[in-house]
Symmetry: C3
Subunit: 340 residues, 3 copies
């Protein structure tokens, strides 16, 4: 696309050569052929150093640029609009079941549903109106998928899993695997046994939930592992059996929630954090990156960090100790010399 065409599309004014634009990118990542943007004069150095072929700038920009520019009202918004032009077109998922899919005759498929190639849907499952089930998905017996939910390729839903409306389940997600539960001990003859505890429950996902690639959510031992509405889960997250996430919470990449724990409304569990089993995290609490939470958090502290998790102040004190310690040590040395 020509820069001049972009300028026209965005309601802006081109200054400089009418170059070809093939993609959008931030100022630092941009290469030849990219359109970038800057709204704030304090980033002038990034503009000066960019390799973009054209930069979107505000009307009153007076710092120059190393390439053609397009002046617009709101460079951020204009770049988002342009980005949509250059984004890979969203694949069309037309209604219908691909002939290579293996769908049990008893499956109930709603209006306008797309079922992709080489997908397996077992008996008794129900797919709601307007749902998209992409290629190579496995949907086990008796699963229920809500209307307008999108299941990306190579997801597996074990038997009995329930997914709400307007959910997005990304590639490689595993819902309903057996929870981790064993009885161990020694028999009378002294030999060790490890017995599997049957995992008889299901996974239930509320409306508007998004689940990132390769995340795993185990079925309950009894009852349900529950992910409440509008919860947004990132990639490679582990959710144990019988966990209850009330809703409107975020679980960031590689975090893990052990069995039977309850996460309140509006919580944010940051990347690589771990939360022990059988505890409760109060509504609105944030657990910082890599934190480890061994016991319930009642909400009196809104943000915890560290292992074991503590308030920001305590965490800071602990991590700053070495420096404070050196000072104290020299104080003591001084005193001792005086006392001699």
């Amino acid at each position: 696309m020509k820069a001049s065409e972009l300028a026209a599309f965005l309601g802006g004014t081109l200054e400089g050569d009418d170059v070809d634009i093939i993609a959008c990118a931030g100022l630092e990542e941009a290469r030849s052929g990219d359109l970038s943007f800057c709204k704030d004069p304090k980033h002038v150095k990034l503009v000066q150093g960019t390799k973009a072929s054209t930069v979107l700038l505000p009307h009153d920009w007076d710092k120059g640029a190393p390439c053609p520019i397009i002046r617009v009202q709101d460079p951020n918004r204009a770049c988002m609009a342009a980005a949509k032009l250059f984004a890979p077109p969203e694949p069309v998922r037309a209604p219908g079941v691909h002939p290579s899919a293996v769908v049990d005759p008893s499956v109930k498929i709603g209006e306008g549903v797309h079922v992709g190639p080489l997908t397996v849907i077992e008996k008794g499952a129900e797919i709601g109106d307007g749902a998209v089930v992409d290629a190579q998905v496995f949907i086990g017996e008796g699963c229920k998928i809500g209307a307008k939910t999108h299941i990306y390729p190579q997801v597996t839903l074990r038997e009995g899993t329930i997914v709400g409306r307007e959910c997005i389940i990304h590639c490689g997600v595993r819902l309903g695997g057996d929870g981790y539960g064993f009885n161990n001990g020694r028999r009378e003859d002294g030999s060790v046994y490890i017995e599997k505890i049957p995992q008889l429950g299901i996974v239930e996902i509320g409306d508007g939930v998004e689940i990132g690639s390769n995340t795993t959510i185990d079925r309950a031992r009894i009852g349900r592992t529950y992910i409440g509405p509008m919860t947004k889960i990132d990639n490679l997250v582990q959710v144990g059996h019988n966990v209850k996430v009330k809703g409107y919470s975020g679980l960031i990449a590689q975090s893990g929630i052990a069995g039977s724990t309850e996460i309140g409304y509006g919580c944010l569990i940051w990347a690589q954090a771990g939360i022990s089993g059988h505890i409760k995290i109060a509504d609105g609490v944030q657990v910082g990156p890599q934190a480890g939470v061994p016991q319930s958090l009642d909400g009196s502290v809104k943000y915890v960090l560290g292992t074991p998790a503590e308030s920001m102040r305590d965490f800071g004190a602990r991590t700053l100790l070495p420096r404070m310690f050196s000072k104290l040590k020299s104080d003591v040395k001084e005193i001792k010399q005086k006392l001699r």
Copy 2:
């Protein structure tokens, strides 16, 4: 199912309305339609607050309940029995190879084996009697699967992988991927090279092993990466090349074992713990959640915590320091004032 029918099935006595029961759940998770249970009067508040439609209680319960109750001898056991009634029925995996599976003619398939739809089994593989290989599995050349082992959908076994008898391999497990090994350096002309070290070994899984969803176990550089009998591995665990887990151990979710490390019998590696390469963890040692183990543990300490891992006492001392430090600091201040 009617509460009265459940009472009859469980050998108990119904008190209150004969409501409909559709599932089981813990007292706190329970909703309308659920059966719950309580055996201990100390949880009376949970009983009073439950939303269950019926609660299983012991014969001598005298604290009341906000819903119909069924009195039984052992509420826990009764609830487990009831849970089985409401659990999603275990899918029947009848013997036979689904016509959509792509199975090489040279594959040896035992008696009573189930091979699901769209599964690929390559040449020379052997599937033991009574094994279940679910839908969309990939079994590479020359793999051997033991009798009665269950492989869930979308597992991949790279060439040469050996799995024992009565194992359970959950969705998305990757066995036999190349270990991470490269030679780096600079050529005489100063340029950098990174060369892949061939990964010539295999993965061997003992009898009775269970492996959770999306866990990855790499093939050995030479020889075998070995997971000994009755080891129970949770979801999203990483096991590096040439690791040896002797047996009867547990690796909890998101833990990682680096290459060539040996884990003794009866160890427990808790969630998100990390264990360095080329070390040994003695029999029976437990590594706490998020711990990082840089060197061998000889078993003189049975439970380690923290990074670098240390005894519970040392870990406690370190995390309690800020508080102890404040006290000491004020002591020093006092002394200094006296000395002036």
Copy 3:
């Protein structure tokens, strides 16, 4: 294979019985039937304790062995050569598209390309000369795969993903999933909203990159998530949207890089480390296992450890504090007694 045949193949001399050899393994892992090796007399105890059936030893070895031996010039090199004999043969991936694959007619397939069974390739995709696309892979619309790249089974590439030449993408890798991005807030009526931010960019992988099993790399919000040439990524790694890894770096198992962060050339991010979003790691910096990096690292410290990440010296000081503290405490006690 007979030990004598092996000796002849390796140009060595057999001493002892001509036993059967079926595999290679390290001295400690070896079992009956295995060939092992030792070049250094300081490992004589491992040789004495090995269960290998034959050991490769240097010509001047005079410490004996509990089994037949083969004397060779260089035992390490000889064992590597022998290991290749016993390794599972690399599966042949002959050129051609398996009839069960679902490949859109518009897909451009190069010379000598292998496409395995039950793989899906959507419209507009391009597969370079000599590439291997194994079974059950999903390649979305408009993806481009470079020449001689190998994609293992059950990988998914969402639409628009670009992979360079001579890359290796292991089982279960997810490229191009939506980045994690939401706008949250409260509406005027006080109700909470969580809106998905469209993820309009792509993932671009440079030449010679290797990506381990079940690793996830998200598509950019705008522009590209970029993994530069010769980067080697291990299993279960998370790479957020708009991350830029310049090249020649290693990301070890279960590490995570949050959105928009830049990793310089020649960096090494060790296992389970986490790196915050929107920061820069300078060329050549190493981030230790389980470290957490909250802010940019300019390269003045070459190796960081701990959370928050610090130099080795500071990390050591912090983890050694409890011991140093005890000493200081008793000093203070002594002083106080003197002052009384």
